[in-house]
């Protein structure tokens, strides 16, 4: 085998042979990502029996785009720390404040503290915003699919869309076990279709997200230029939803997935 030109040129940026599946939407500020800041809890709002929204004042917050997340750290008095990632629920225009929505995970170290001990005035530490690839600057038509607390970063997009009066198409499919488990239930409008997997109100079907709910959005309801799809939730849900999107014709390089692990 002989060397090809591309083999010998080690200058110029490397371009993988496959089209990059999910190029970052925005550049991330490395300075903001590196710095731990104090976040003071100002308000707790219950969303469902298992999820609450926590509002923080973060005076030095660098700002974020809908869809980004942060790293949150709790410190015990012997110096032990626990850190976890959380998506930002609030829209960017909420100056100096951010909101997170946390599920109460059974036996969870960090979510357990929030759901049993946290009260306004408490201080935690955050660094971020992190990760540009799941960000939505509000430019392209957005098809959002989430389940459980996976709706959190998508809600930041919905709120941003509303707050700015954007006209670019945006649709949200949100899956929950039943109406009482639907986070942000009171806030949804015509852009949202809830999907109930266990219990539903009279006349609403029960079952997991199906091709029949996804396919029309990629056919008759497809906006010019197509959708940028954002999928968020557990790995099992992300696998299911992304397969439905691919089967309905959505290009894989226009599907962004945030898995909560």
């Amino acid at each position: 085998m002989t060397r090809t030109t591309s083999d010998t040129t080690a200058t110029g940026p490397f371009v993988p042979p496959t089209r990059f599946a999910v190029p970052g939407r925005i550049a991330v500020s490395n300075r903001a990502a590196a710095l731990w800041q104090t976040a003071t809890l100002t308000e707790v709002r219950r969303e469902t029996p298992h999820a609450s929204t926590f509002r923080f004042a973060v005076p030095g917050w660098a700002g974020h785009l809908p869809g980004q997340h942060l790293m949150l750290r709790l410190t015990a008095d012997d110096g032990y720390t626990a850190q976890r990632h959380y998506s930002i629920a609030s829209p960017p225009d909420d100056a100096g404040h951010i909101e997170l929505t946390l599920d109460h995970v059974e036996g969870g170290e960090v979510s357990g503290w929030f759901h049993t001990l946290a009260k306004p005035g408490d201080e935690v530490e955050v660094r971020g915003p992190l990760s540009g690839f799941f960000a939505w600057p509000g430019d392209r038509p957005a098809l959002l699919i989430g389940a459980g607390s996976g709706v959190v970063p998508l809600m930041s997009m919905v709120r941003h869309h509303r707050a700015r009066g954007l006209t670019v198409p945006l649709r949200l499919l949100v899956s929950a076990r039943g109406p009482e488990d639907l986070i942000y239930a009171r806030e949804y409008g015509a852009e949202t279709t809830p999907v109930f997997t266990r219990r539903a109100p009279e006349g609403v079907p029960v079952g997991r997200l199906a091709a029949s709910q996804v396919a029309p959005l990629l056919a008759a309801e497809q906006p010019p230029g197509g959708w940028e799809a954002y999928v968020c939730g557990s790995n099992a849900f992300a696998e299911h939803a992304s397969r439905l999107l691919v089967a309905a014709g959505q290009p894989v390089d226009r599907i962004r997935i945030e898995r909560f692990g």
Binding site: S6, D7, F20, A34, G79, L117, F133, E239
Partner: protein, 201 residues
């Protein structure tokens, strides 16, 4: 130190194998890829090394499997804070592949890329000396697709985003070039023992 009121955390574990800020995920193996899990069969899979090498080479599944097998038994560490102890991967040491292509003396770094287009950068020194593998087995079974099967890169001494799933190739370079997460603010090297999570750490 900013102590969080009332936070005690889990009972402290004295585990010398746990890097700072990490916790033991036990039997869980979270999946965190940012793209759709590809439908890639062993017949579709190939692995290429090119760039600053004497002989660029592409292996298919059978040719890669003809190389001497090598196993990794030990721990893995994800930047999202979980670690997993005592896992066993089977495959081939990356040294066996590199011996075939013979890296130039000028090669200092590599970009690893996936069949999905995912990329990650590594110093070449982290890929040699029996510290990196192309792995296709996990606990004696074929590596599941969502964990990078049919084959992934395995560099267990660095955070796991460096261990590119669905590995398609390595390009050897004379400089460092940030990959997907590295362009999104993550650290260029990602050594869990120095907690190199984000650029600037």
């Amino acid at each position: 130190m900013n102590v969080t009121r009332g936070f005690t955390g889990r009972p402290r574990v004295q585990n010398a194998g746990l890097p700072p800020g990490q916790y033991d995920a036990g039997d869980d193996w979270p999946v965190l890829s940012a793209e759709v899990t590809p439908d890639l069969t062993p017949a579709d899979w190939s692995f290429r090394i090119d760039g600053l090498v004497a002989e660029p080479h592409t292996w298919d599944w059978a040719e890669a499997h003809a190389l001497p097998t090598s196993a990794y038994e030990g721990d893995i560490h994800c930047v999202t804070s979980w670690s997993k102890f005592g896992v066993r991967f089977g495959g081939v040491s990356l040294d066996a592949f590199l011996d075939t292509v013979r890296p130039d003396a000028s090669a200092t770094h590599a970009v690893a890329y996936s069949h999905t287009g995912y990329t990650t950068n590594l110093p070449l020194a982290d890929l040699t000396g029996g510290r990196a593998w192309i792995a296709w087995e996990y606990e004696g079974r074929p590596l599941p697709a969502e964990h990078g099967g049919p084959a992934r890169l395995l560099v267990p001494h660095l955070y796991f985003w460096k261990s590119a799933k669905w590995i398609a190739g390595l390009r050897l370079l004379d400089h460092d070039e940030p990959g997907f997460w590295e362009q999104n603010g993550y650290h260029a090297r990602g050594n869990p023992w120095e907690e190199q999570r984000y650029s600037g750490d």
